[in-house]
């Protein structure tokens, strides 16, 4: 393949001008669409805009709802110059923001709503029969091959293969994975909207039941009702709007769609290339990142992405996370809302929302990353191989 050189033309050309979330956790009696409407309304209010200002819609919900963006458009009363539903799993949400920036730059749209919503807790608990299936079990594995017949169920095992191989090659330990859970739980305790409210000790982490070894209960992200949304427009237009704009400095995408089992993809992820693109577009490197919101479906994915984004060397993710680096007062505060492990699981959308809020500087000292000017947000997903990256900054 030809080496690519990302253009720097889009650096700082677009901005996120509003961010919002729905109620999180157990929100009985609401659909995925209803949750997303709640988040979108909050994001538009944050921006001082209405649905009538929106001419682009990029969103995702439950994968079984056909053309989800059309379902949402009808409910919102929006005719869009551009709308679509992305299918890169947890990488879709960050990619949606990047796609919005490209469309705005091309002049095809002016204002794009990007969001994700799913009533994960409700859909599993509304019906006991569904409980065994679990939300993590990909529907496409039903009636398939090279998976279910060997008892392979759930994203937890796919990510577990990566964790196990990383432990084997680099001596990474469960205690190091635990340090990630503990750091994010501490952040969640500072976030009144976070689902998890109790402190977590290393002993709690190690004593918790194993789910799919090497992952125990606290290595796994939450099952929650949750939605998040942001409003993207041009940096020029952002100047006239209500919020301090959060500039899109750079973005990247790389999908190792040759598969999680191919080469060393499970211990060297798409974040390597996606990060290179984003850094090049933004004109910054890992040393200039003040905080990161890293996609945390499972603890291991945080550790390996931190390596792949260059915050530490390959193989040194374990010692890095155990050093206390991820704490709010650490060298690289990570998942400052509690992340998907302790705030709520929203397929990465709430990590975009949190990145924006940190750069809007809206928090009190208990939650604010002091002097935050540049943050990195990652999205990871699909069948464990898709990665998208955003670098955001203050104006």
């Amino acid at each position: 393949m030809v080496d690519i050189t990302p253009s720097q033309r889009l650096r700082d050309r677009c901005a996120i001008v509003g961010a919002g979330a729905s109620r999180l956790g157990k929100v009985p009696g609401i659909s995925s669409q209803g949750l997303l409407e709640e988040a979108m309304k909050n994001a538009l209010d944050d921006a001082g805009l209405t649905t009538q200002d929106v001419d682009g819609l990029i969103c995702r919900g439950p994968d079984e709802i056909y053309t989800f963006h059309q379902v949402m458009g009808e409910r919102l009363g929006i005719d869009a110059n551009f709308s679509t539903t992305l299918t890169n799993g947890g990488a879709s949400q960050v990619l949606g923001v990047a796609l919005a920036a490209m469309l705005i730059d091309l002049g095809l749209v002016s204002t794009v709503l990007v969001g994700f919503g799913r009533n994960n807790w409700s859909r599993v608990h509304a019906n006991r029969d569904n409980h065994m299936r679990g939300s993590a079990r990909p529907q496409q594995m039903e009636g398939s091959e090279f998976g279910p017949e060997y008892g392979l169920y759930g994203a937890v095992a796919m990510h577990g293969f990566g964790a196990r191989r990383h432990m084997h090659e680099y001596g990474t330990t469960r205690e190091q994975f635990g340090a990630i859970s503990l750091a994010f739980r501490d952040h969640a305790l500072r976030n009144p909207d976070a689902v998890m409210k109790k402190p977590l000790s290393m002993q709690d982490y190690l004593d918790a039941r194993l789910i799919v070894d090497p992952f125990g209960l606290y290595d796994c992200s939450l099952q929650t009702d949750a939605a998040g949304a942001v409003v993207v427009t041009s940096a020029e237009r952002a100047k006239d709007l209500k919020q301090r704009p959060v500039l899109i400095k750079g973005f990247g995408s790389h999908n190792n769609i040759s598969g999680w089992f191919a080469g060393d993809n499970m211990i060297r992820t798409g974040a390597v290339e996606a990060g290179k693109q984003a850094y090049a577009m933004a004109g910054v490197g890992p040393d200039e990142i003040d905080f990161a919101q890293i996609y945390d479906c499972f603890t291991y994915m945080v550790l390996v992405q931190l390596e792949d984004y260059g915050f530490c060397k390959k193989g040194e993710g374990g010692p890095f996370v155990a050093s206390g680096a991820l704490a709010l007062d650490g060298t690289l505060p990570v998942n400052t809302s509690g992340g998907q492990l302790s705030e709520a699981h929203c397929e990465g959308m709430l990590q975009v929302v949190e990145g924006v809020r940190q750069l809007q500087g809206i928090y009190g000292p208990e939650r604010q990353v002091p002097g935050a000017e540049i943050g990195l947000v990652s999205g990871h997903g699909g069948n464990t191989v898709c990665e998208s990256t955003l670098i955001l900054g203050t104006a």
Binding site: M132, R137, F146, G151, R209, I211, F261
Partner: protein, 136 residues
């Protein structure tokens, strides 16, 4: 027989049918490219190494190593209840390609990455045989 088997069974596609027919005859079949000699699995009709569509099904040696594995402690499907905890592994075959399977004939907590394994055919029903792997 088939009525007693509670686990999921594979649903072959036209592309993977030779693999499952081979398994039934206790032969581990993978594809080999006529142009670049790449071996591959799971089945497709184009070489992931060079893009050629000329290939042959060959019998793999059945020997390999555990590239990675996980151990299920939570039951996701009732058919596995009697075997908890069970091991699902990514096995790297001698020919270079990797295959998802179970590690059998060893306690779950004794499986390690890179350990040598060999194929062990499990006739789970009269119609279906699953290639699994045991310590070599």
């Amino acid at each position: 027989m088939a009525g007693d088997y509670e686990k999921a069974l594979p649903c072959p596609s036209p592309d993977s049918l030779p693999f499952w027919e081979g398994a039934k005859a206790h032969r581990l079949l993978i594809q080999k490219c006529d142009s670049c000699d790449t071996h591959w699995h799971p089945p497709s009709t184009i070489c992931p190494g060079c893009g050629s569509r000329d290939f042959a099904w060959i019998e793999a040696s059945g020997k390999g190593r555990v590239f990675s594995f996980v151990t299920y402690h939570r039951l996701y499907h009732k058919g596995w209840k009697a075997e908890m905890p069970y091991v699902v592994a990514v096995v790297e075959l001698e020919e270079g390609t990797r295959i998802l399977s179970n590690i059998v004939g060893i306690a779950a907590d004794e499986v390690v990455c890179d350990m040598a394994v060999e194929v062990a055919f499990d006739d789970v029903t009269e119609e279906v045989t699953l290639p699994k792997f045991r310590p070599a």
